[in-house]
Point group: C2
Chain length 103, copies 2
């Protein structure tokens, strides 16, 4: 779990985990899609139009969650992905805008 | 060679190559060091205090160059690394400041 949510100062290690998580075409697409959504949007992992197996999809969402880029929100027996927008803006100012405008 | 210097519009592919290049502790350290230097600084690849073999060091500098993050400047029989600061600011606004402040 990324330390970004503990309120401790960032280190290069945390930034590195964010960069590693973003450095894959599927994960980058997921994040850019979430950035483009309205604030606080929650998306089911099947809603991104990814043409990969369920196991591969789950693998990518786990990396995104472990890096601190997204969180999972449970709604009944379904789980939704949510961008940790405010936390990311605070820890990595300008990152989300840069990703959206440069993608 | 990254297309960032051709003047064509960015694509997700170019952004992805930048993120991949940054997603390694040695390469991230090199870039943050270069960001912290004065503008137009040129650094020899041995000046970053990297505790890796020459072959490994060359490998990392090649990835940084191919991604478009740095360029090589030849001075006599020595080659120096230079951050492509202006081009990166134009193509990925806010990226360099974010890396420096979050590292």
């Amino acid at each position: 779990m990324a330390k970004v949510e503990t309120g401790t100062q960032n280190s290069g290690d945390e930034l590195l985990e964010i960069l590693k998580a973003l450095a894959h075409p599927i994960r980058l697409k997921i994040i850019v899609d979430l950035i483009s959504d309205e604030a606080d949007a929650e998306r089911h992992c099947t809603s991104f139009g990814l043409t990969v197996t369920k196991a591969t999809r789950s693998h990518h969402f786990k990396i995104l969650k472990d890096s601190g880029l997204i969180t999972h929100v449970d709604r009944g027996n379904r789980s939704f992905a949510k961008l940790r927008r405010e936390e990311l803006e605070a820890a990595y100012p300008g990152l989300l805008n840069m990703l959206k405008s440069s993608y």
